[in-house]
Symmetry: C2
């Protein structure tokens, strides 16, 4: 495969966006990415979306979005891997450009989650778990992650304060992100007295329900150079799956798909985890950020929580995690999240992160980790400034 | 891109399969394809499915199917383009192998459509149309294709007998396909007196609601040669979209996405449409087979119907279409259809079509055309015997 680059990034408004429809959110992000890259066309389009069918009664999403972008005719496809759908969209764009088939491909993600009721949204999200063995028996995602959190606390002594540290840090970062759904800072006591959802997870341990879209322009290095704008290179891509049911996994205190995907991406990039300078990871719940930081190999099992309490994952820490505010503060329109992670890495590596959110010292190498469900899939990408 | 081959194909039972679940149908097809190819592993998996969310309450379909195939860990992704989802799965496998990233990739498709009511299935299928401008106003697919049929009849004088000829020919072919849902022959008068669904389309002009799965093994030529079994080469892949709403298209008597996708695939293959010896096309309704045969460039606009009446598309005709029985007789589990078209081409080109369905004269070059909705997307592939 030939080298693959990212030359532009865009986001729609994120939040409870009543005045924009599913397709309008996509078009906003797509147009922003096209303008940012300065390209005059795209050769093809990938759209990550978890379930347009259940959230807004719309499938055939690739074709619809190409149409509403004003580009009917172009090749377009919708990809899905639950909350990792955006990561898959980026990976397919990476493969298509890397193969030489296309020069300029848009990787995008979109989800419109607030057009249905809370019950309907919970049911739609539950389709990321095993319908026959988990959902049928009443499992929802806060409940499943609560099981994982308790197991991690029992095995490693992970504490309430460590979970809190993730929420507080991500809301601090998100307070500087103009696209964040909840751009406010949190005090630890606010997190720890918020309403219980599924013990030990409180509402402020959970990422929100979000409407939003994100898009990036992926291209060959030849095109990237011609555009004469800052760009980044995609050095590695790793995708892995795992057993879907928690009950059948050997160990629910680690995310095996994140480990495998990280290893695959690092191997392709020819890098070690110690080379990575910061990461955007899938903090759908506070416990997830702890487990992922361990699963990708950055921390030994059971050691991430203490490191986070000591400030290592802060913007000015040794290994910043989720400078964007993460899913917690920025929001989690499930199909868009994986692409928004790339948007943040692109901004950070090209020095364009807004409002003082820029990581100091001009980092050069970053990782994104996007996860489906309770980790039955993970997509990891490694990117370097050009 | 390097050369890409198909070395094995498999199908589950197709029909109203009450005794197999969504995941079991997939596993049946996947295991059959693996056995047919003689491979001992796959590097990654694509699953085409239109809407597991609406039909069976299950998304995260790539990971789930990798798990139930007994291969958790492998890269897997679900792709969607309504009824062209299977074609997209095959195209992504083609790109991934062509890029050099993987050696052996499974392209599969699955849909379980009879676990919900007929009303629910109609609503699920309607998500392939424009939810805001078509479905909200009451459009369903038989109604949309009826509009296209009337326009085609008005413009070109296409007749009831021409539609009937498509149904009769496809059921004749399907009567020899052991996987067909409706493997019985039809008399013209049976078609023409069957119940009206949406004028002029009667029930026997419509493809059925089907449970089923299909899978093929896509690999590099190096791997294909080592396996020492008959294989075929994928010479070209074309994907195109179109305006989704019928009301906004310039001309609803042609499928522009099929024209574009056919041109792109032929160009990549370095072939002309006149080189193609037979085709599997998307006959979701009888009128669709006529419109597609014209749109891919095989017949001039308005001339396919008369050619079909004259027997040109029959198994022993000048240009056999849908030797498998097509969607009409074989069935149409929407996400699986595009892959099943490749299964038939693989069988025909390697001389393995069952029960006297084999096209005489050992054809060497074939096309598949798989379509989403009323043609807002089309995927075309061109394959040649190795």
């Amino acid at each position: 495969m030939r080298p693959v680059c990212v030359v532009g990034a865009g986001m729609s408004q994120w939040g409870e966006v009543w005045r924009k429809s599913f397709r309008e959110l996509f078009v906003d992000a797509a147009r922003a990415a096209i303008a940012d890259a300065g390209v005059d066309h795209i050769d093809s389009l990938y759209v990550g979306c978890m379930t347009g069918g259940l959230f807004v009664g719309q499938e055939h999403i690739g074709a619809l979005m190409a149409d509403y972008l004003g580009m009917p005719g172009i090749p377009a496809a919708h990809v899905e891997s639950a909350c990792a759908s955006g990561g898959i969209a980026f990976r397919q764009a990476f493969i298509e450009v890397g193969s030489g088939l296309s020069e300029i491909v848009m990787a995008s993600g979109v989800e419109k989650m607030t057009d249905c009721s809370g019950d309907e949204a919970t049911a739609a999200l539950a389709t990321a778990a095993d319908a026959e063995y988990e959902v049928f028996n009443g499992a929802t995602f806060p409940g499943l992650y609560a099981l994982m959190a308790h197991a991690h606390m029992h095995k490693y002594g992970t504490t309430r304060a460590m979970l809190t540290a993730v929420a507080v840090k991500n809301h601090h970062n998100g307070s500087m992100n103009p696209f964040a759904q909840y751009p406010f800072k949190l005090k630890p006591e606010t997190v720890e007295t918020s309403v219980m959802v599924a013990d030990p997870l409180r509402i402020l341990d959970c990422s929100p329900i979000t409407d939003g879209a994100a898009a990036v322009i992926v291209c060959s290095e030849e095109v990237a150079k011609k555009l004469r704008r800052p760009y980044i290179k995609v050095l590695g891509s790793g995708l892995a799956t795992d057993i879907m049911q928690l009950a059948q996994r050997e160990d629910i205190t680690t995310i095996k798909s994140a480990t495998l995907a990280s290893q695959r991406a690092l191997k392709m990039a020819g890098k070690q985890i110690s080379d990575i300078q910061f990461a955007e990871v899938h903090d759908c719940f506070t416990i997830a950020e702890i487990m992922v930081a361990e699963s990708i190999g950055k921390y030994k099992p059971g050691q991430a929580g203490a490191a986070f309490l000591a400030g290592e994952s802060a913007l000015d820490g040794k290994f910043p995690i989720n400078p964007s505010g993460g899913l917690k503060s920025k929001g989690h329109p499930v199909g868009a999240t994986g692409v928004a992670q790339v948007v943040e890495v692109f901004k950070q590596l090209t020095g364009k992160a807004e409002n003082g959110r820029q990581i100091k010292g001009a980092p050069k190498l970053a990782m994104t980790q996007n996860m489906g469900g309770t980790g039955a899939s993970s997509v990891v990408h490694i990117m370097e400034v050009a």
